[in-house]
Symmetry: C2
Subunit: 391 residues, 2 copies
Amino acid sequence: MSSGSNGHAPGAGALLGILRSGRPRTRGELAELTGLSRSTVSQRLDGLIEHRWVVAGEDSVSSGGRPATVFAFNGGARLVLAADLGATRARLAVIDLGMSVLAERTAELSIDQGPEQTLGWVAGAFQDLLSAAGRDLSQVCGVGIGLPGPVEHASGRPANPPIMPGWDGFAVPDWLGARLGAPVLVDNDVNVMALGEHWAARPEVDHLIFIKMGTGIGCGIISGRRLHRGAQGAAGDVGHVRVPASEAPCRCGNVGCLEAVAGGGSMAAALRASGIEAEGSRDVVALMRAGDLRATRLVRQAGREVGTVMASIVNFFNPSVIVIGGDVAEAGEQVLAGVRETIYSRSLPLATQHLGIRVSQLGDRAGVMGAAVMVVEHVLAPDTIDRIITK
Amino acid sequence: MSSGSNGHAPGAGALLGILRSGRPRTRGELAELTGLSRSTVSQRLDGLIEHRWVVAGEDSVSSGGRPATVFAFNGGARLVLAADLGATRARLAVIDLGMSVLAERTAELSIDQGPEQTLGWVAGAFQDLLSAAGRDLSQVCGVGIGLPGPVEHASGRPANPPIMPGWDGFAVPDWLGARLGAPVLVDNDVNVMALGEHWAARPEVDHLIFIKMGTGIGCGIISGRRLHRGAQGAAGDVGHVRVPASEAPCRCGNVGCLEAVAGGGSMAAALRASGIEAEGSRDVVALMRAGDLRATRLVRQAGREVGTVMASIVNFFNPSVIVIGGDVAEAGEQVLAGVRETIYSRSLPLATQHLGIRVSQLGDRAGVMGAAVMVVEHVLAPDTIDRIITK
């Protein structure tokens, strides 16, 4: 058995980690695993039980003698509120610490009405969802929010988000935390989607790239099972990578950006130019599904353009899995075929030999599940638990 | 104080970690920091002293009473042998666990003579270096080797290395370990160079990309202060990324690869085509230094080509620092200007705002220092120490 690497005795958080990742344990087993005395183990278990992180029961398979008391992770007792807010839609869920979804809903919601109106609605909708699940705010230990723009993760404040007027620098955690009485974590949508897909794909994936293809195009990156946010939290911003041989104007002011040739807006514009009614990526996918050949060709070509940019990134990053999500991913095989075609023809054989390229398993739930994962990992981090439970 | 996150009591390795990262400590301080009893602390310190990882002394600044015994990391007692093997050159060093270089040498060495002849020479050269430093093999606790080709890091075996005939699958750690009596770690040259530069740039850099520009072009990647090797250990292999608008044939069999337009071999070939004598990247840089305008233009353009590929990668990865190393980096400002020119014009402002782009601080010592860092971090990992010292 190895020992604690940071030089401190295992606290309540470490005990919880053992119970969370495995089967229920007796006091004696926990003392043996940690090197702590039985009395210290008991004292820490008392704290965990008092805060309802752990539940005590009898071991029914114990053979002979009186049944031993076993201690188990109590995933159902405490709750997380998770929201994935898009430009025009929101998905909210009440999820327990064992990652079971107790209640969820989607709604139309314009993020451009500003933070107070948007978050006010979110706070109310969370309370309604809690009531629907027969639970209340006192059981909530954290709130996770995904936003459709850059976020300074440490402070939870949006940073110059292009499609979120009024949100720049707004203290989302303070405002929402005051109303919900729990810590609030915020990150951008692609990062939480990557966390969600990584959770769904566990445990075998070390390095994952999640590509959101919608109005915008961006990546969430997992390196060594951890989110790679980059030096300014800007990692994954591939939407404005220059695509060779294109002079298409982009909404960012440059020309030839990936978004300008493969974003939902550019596909819809191309359809409108041929007299076909289409507003955004969802319309393009709907037209494709209805058999429109022009829409099908556009989606396939968008996949190729994304694949061309990702081909270099596959050589650089050597991911285990690439997951395509966002509205355009609902085009399924058509977009996947385009992405695969260019990555397999342009990336190195060693990097593509075992590379999985697939559509999101969680679909439009990736963001809300990832927002919950972000909170659960924070709330159950040993340091967090130790700060709550006096040793 | 936080507690051990993996649920086990702090062992000798954890105590060593405290001493290594800070000032010398008394028994009482160590007991307080770890939550261990003073007798357990004493027992673990005895083991560390016996193995010479730790040294005991008197605290000279102790005020009043008799001086307290303090315990300190004994970085000078044990040694690492490190070698950076290139296609035609080798650099070897004897380095202690505090990362002081005790002896070093460079030599011409053809890696294509195969593993036994090459490594036999390396083993002999290490023994000579040890003698020169007045030390011997009994003090060596690990050996680190950087090789100029892909390596399966877990086994230390080269994997289809293109310029190393006879090395494919050769068990470098077994062969060399049997001769030197210490564990041997092996990785490819760009990975150890990245480790070396990250060590030199510490502590502020979380995300670093090291680009080696020589005959070949490749990256070593640090994400969250850890080496990102990728799913097949192939991360950083950007030499065969397709460059727009080039049809130059590459030694890999494809056309338009980055190496085919910016590698040392292609620059030398371009000079030879104009009747100028040049064999590889070192000749190109030497010609540039001698004032040859054609060589200068080639180096500058190579920087631009590398910058064009890296511009997308900067958007994707958002590194804190990009370090240019390898032979071509000796061209200094000329190559740097080319790389900067394209990255700053093509990457997103947020990702380049605080981005450092510079030439290697360690120069041609980056590889050998990084090979030592790889071994020191392994040898002093708490789990490793705990396995050696019975708890």
